[in-house]
C-alpha cells in the first residue's frame, strides 16, 4: 500500500499551520511555501493520475482498518483527474494572488488557501460519505475566510448569505446521511452500492428520501437552479483570485453527483428510477436558461461572469443528467474546460477592476493596460461562450451529440443553442462597452491615475488560457481519456471489489479474549 494517495490532503494540512505558526509575519516565506506546496501537489497528482490512467483503483486504508469499518481514500480515473485539475488551477490562481498583491490585503490568505485545497482534495479522494461531509466542511470553513478576505461591507454582507446558505446545505447533508445510515447501516460508498441493491422493494421510503436529499445537497454545491441563489453575489463580491479558485467548488458538487449517482444509485436502480431523467434534467436546462438570461441582464461585469458560471454548470448538469456513458464523458470534458475558463474570466474581471473605477457596464475611460486585458477577455469570453475554435465549442458539440438519442432531444438542443446565443450576445455587449466604447471617453481629470496590473497577473491569466488552447489541441486524446473514465464509472465492480475486498485490520475481540 503506497502512501502517495493521501499526500494531496496531508501536504496542505501541514503547510497551512506551518504558514500560520512559523511564517506569520513573513509574507515572502509564506508565498514561497505556498507555491512550493502547490507545485509538490501538482507533481504528486500527476503521478497519481498516471498510475490510475490504466484503470487501477488506488486504495488507502486509514489506520489499516478494513473498508466498511475504517475510512478509505480511493483514487480512480475520475478522482485523480479532478485532483490534478484542482492543483493546476490552484497554481495559476496563487500566482495571480501574489502578482496582484491580493494576499497582502488581509491576513492569513495563504494558510486559508492551503486549508481550502485540503478540503477540495479530500472531497475528491474520499470513499466514505460521512468523510465527504467532513471535507465539505473543511473546504467551506476555509472558503468563508477567503470569501471575506480583506473585508468591506458589501463583501461581508455577501459572505453572510454565502455562509448561511451553506450551513443549511450542511444540515440537509446530515439529514441525508442519517437517513442513509438508518436504512443501510453503512456510509462507505462501495459498501452502500452493494447494500442499496438489497433493499426490499416494498420498504423504499427512507432510501428514496435520502437519495433526493443527497441530490439536493450536491445541487446546492453545483448551483443548480433553483438552488443557485448563493452564487451570484458571493462570487461577484469575493476577491478575484478567490472567485477563480471557487470555480472548482461548483465542480465538487458535480463530481459528487457523478460519483454517488453512478455507483450508489445508478440510473437503472428501481428504487430511485426517474430521479435523474425527470428531475435533474429539467433543473439543469432551467439553470442554462437562468445563466443565459443573467448574462444578458447583468449590469456589472462580475455578476455577468457569475451568471455565465451558472450557465456552464447548467451545461455540465444537462450532460450528467442524460446519464449515458457518452454523456458523462462529455460532462467530464466540459467540467475541465469550464473550470479553466471560469477561473480565467474571474481573474480578468479582477484585472479590469484594477484599472477601472468600478465594474458597471457603461462607457467609461479606457482601463489601464486596456489592449492586453481586452485581448485576454476576448479569448476567455470565446471559450466560455462556446464559440469555435476553443474547447467550449468542442465540449458543447459532445453534449449535443450525447443528447441526440435522448427522448427530450428537441428540448435539450433548443435550450442549449438558444442559451449559447444569449451568452454570446451578453459577452459581446460587455466586451464592446468596457473595452471598445471606452476609447471615445475622456478620463476624468480629478481621478488619480489608476495603476496597471502587474506582469505576473497577466502571466497567470495567460497560463490558464494557454492551458485551454492545449486542451483544445489535444481534445481527441482528452476525450478518449474521458470515455475510459466514464466506462470505469459505469462498471463500478472493480472499484467496489477493491474497496470491500482488500483485507485490513479488523477488531478481533474473541481472539484477544483467548489470549488473556
Amino acid at each position: 500500500m503506497t502512501h502517495w494517495i493521501i499526500a494531496p490532503i496531508i501536504l496542505p494540512a501541514i503547510m497551512a499551520p506551518f504558514i500560520i505558526l512559523a511564517a506569520r509575519y513573513h509574507l515572502g516565506i509564506q508565498r514561497v511555501f505556498s507555491v512550493v506546496g502547490v507545485l509538490a501537489i501538482i507533481a504528486i497528482a500527476a503521478g497519481l493520475a498516471w498510475q490510475a490512467s490504466d484503470g487501477t483503483v488506488i486504495l488507502y486504508q486509514l489506520g489499516d482498518w478494513a473498508a466498511p469499518f475504517g475510512i478509505v481514500i480511493v483514487g480512480d480515473r475520475l478522482s485523480t483527474l479532478m485532483v490534478l485539475l484542482t492543483s493546476i488551477l490552484a497554481l495559476f490562481v496563487l500566482l495571480y494572488a501574489i502578482g496582484s498583491d491580493w494576499d497582502t490585503r488581509g491576513r492569513h490568505f495563504h494558510a486559508l488557501y492551503q486549508f481550502q485545497l485540503m478540503g477540495i482534495m479530500g472531497a475528491f479522494l474520499t470513499g466514505d460519505l460521512f468523510n465527504l461531509f467532513v471535507f465539505f466542511e473543511v473546504l467551506l470553513i476555509a472558503s468563508y475566510g477567503l470569501m471575506i478576505h480583506s473585508g468591506g461591507d458589501a463583501r461581508l454582507r455577501a459572505g453572510v448569505q454565502y455562509v448561511l446558505f451553506n450551513l443549511i446545505g450542511s444540515t440537509l447533508f446530515l439529514f441525508a446521511l442519517g437517513a442513509i445510515y438508518a436504512e443501510t447501516g453503512t456510509l462507505n460508498m462501495a459498501d452502500l452500492a452493494q447494500r442499496v441493491q438489497l433493499i426490499d422493494e416494498t420498504a423504499t421510503v427512507g432510501i428514496r428520501v435520502a437519495a433526493v436529499l443527497l441530490l439536493l445537497v450536491f445541487a446546492i454545491k453545483a448551483a443548480v437552479v433553483p438552488l443557485h441563489f448563493w452564487l451570484p453575489s458571493s462570487y461577484a463580491e469575493a476577491p478575484g483570485p478567490v472567485a477563480a479558485l471557487f470555480a472548482i467548488m461548483t465542480k465538487v458538487g458535480a463530481y459528487a453527483i457523478i460519483r454517488v449517482y453512478t455507483m450508489i444509485f445508478p440510473p437503472d436502480l428501481a428504487v430511485t428510477h426517474g430521479l435523474q431523467s425527470h428531475w435533474l434534467l429539467w433543473a439543469a436546462l432551467l439553470s442554462l436558461l437562468v445563466g443565459a438570461f443573467g448574462v444578458l441582464a447583468a449590469r456589472k461585469l462580475d455578476r455577468l461572469v457569475a451568471f455565465s458560471v451558472i450557465g456552464s454548470m447548467g451545461m455540465v448538469m444537462v450532460a450528467i443528467s442524460l446519464f449515458t456513458p457518452e454523456s458523462i464523458a462529455a460532462a467530464l470534458y466540459y467540467i475541465v474546460h469550464s473550470t479553466l475558463a471560469g477561473a480565467a474570466l474571474f481573474l480578468i474581471v479582477d484585472l479590469v477592476r484594477t484599472g477601472r473605477a468600478n465594474l458597471v457596464l457603461n462607457a467609461q475611460a479606457p482601463v489601464s493596460g486596456a489592449a492586453l486585458t481586452a485581448a485576454v477577455f476576448f479569448v476567455a469570453a470565446i471559450a466560455m461562450a462556446g464559440l469555435p475554435p476553443l474547447s467550449g465549442f468542442i465540449g458543447k458539440l459532445m453534449v449535443l451529440s450525447a443528447a441526440y438519442e435522448n427522448a427530450n432531444m428537441a428540448w435539450v438542443w433548443a435550450i442549449i443553442l438558444m442559451s449559447s446565443l444569449f451568452i454570446i450576445v451578453g459577452f459581446a455587449r460587455a466586451g464592446s462597452v468596457v473595452f471598445w466604447k471606452a476609447q471615445s471617453e475622456q478620463p476624468a481629470e480629478d481621478d488619480a491615475p489608476l495603476q496597471m496590473p502587474t506582469t505576473l497577473s497577466y502571466v497567470a491569466v495567460a497560463g490558464l488560457l494557454s492551458l485551454l488552447v492545449v486542451y483544445t489541441v489535444f481534445a481527441g486524446q482528452a476525450h478518449r481519456y474521458m470515455i475510459a473514465t466514464s466506462a470505469q464509472l459505469f462498471s463500478p465492480e472493480p472499484y467496489i471489489e477493491t474497496v470491500v475486498g482488500t483485507p485490513g485490520k479488523l477488531s478481533e475481540y474473541d481472539d484477544e479474549k483467548e489470549d488473556h
Binding site: F130, G151, L164, G178, G185, N362
Partner: protein
C-alpha cells in the same frame, strides 16, 4: 419513546425552518441552530433507540446499541458549533459595518446613479 423523539425532531425542524425564512440575520442563525439540534437528535436515532444497552463488546451481553451514530453526532456537534460561531462573527461584522442586518441583497442604487449622462 419513538414517538417522543420523532415529535421532538419534527418540532425542532419546523421551528428551525420557520426562523430560517425570516429576513434578519439573528432569527436565521437561531433557526440554523435549531435545525442542527434537530439533525443531531436525528443522527443519534438513526442507529435505533436502545435503552440501557452497552455500545462496546462485553462478555455475556447479546443486545448492543450502535456506537457509530454517537461518533457521527459528536463530529456533527463540533462542526455545527464552530460554524455557528463563524457565522455569528461574520454577521456581526456585516451588521456593524453597514448598520443593517437584513439577509437579502440591498436595493442597488449605485448603477442607476452612475448612469447619468456625462
Amino acid at each position: 419513546m419513538e414517538f417522543l423523539v420523532a415529535s421532538a425532531i419534527g418540532l425542532l425542524t419546523a421551528a428551525g425552518i420557520y426562523l430560517l425564512l425570516r429576513l434578519r440575520t439573528f432569527p436565521v442563525i437561531l433557526g440554523i441552530s435549531l435545525l442542527t439540534y434537530a439533525v443531531n437528535v436525528f443522527l443519534f436515532a438513526s442507529g435505533r433507540l436502545q435503552v440501557g444497552a452497552p455500545p462496546i463488546l462485553q462478555d455475556g451481553v447479546s443486545t448492543y446499541t450502535d456506537p457509530l451514530p454517537q461518533a457521527l453526532v459528536l463530529t456533527a456537534i463540533v462542526i455545527s458549533f464552530g460554524m455557528t460561531a463563524v457565522v455569528v462573527m461574520i454577521a456581526l461584522g456585516a451588521y456593524l459595518g453597514s448598520d443593517d442586518d437584513h439577509v437579502d441583497d440591498p436595493v442597488d442604487t449605485s448603477n442607476t446613479a452612475k448612469e447619468e449622462p456625462k
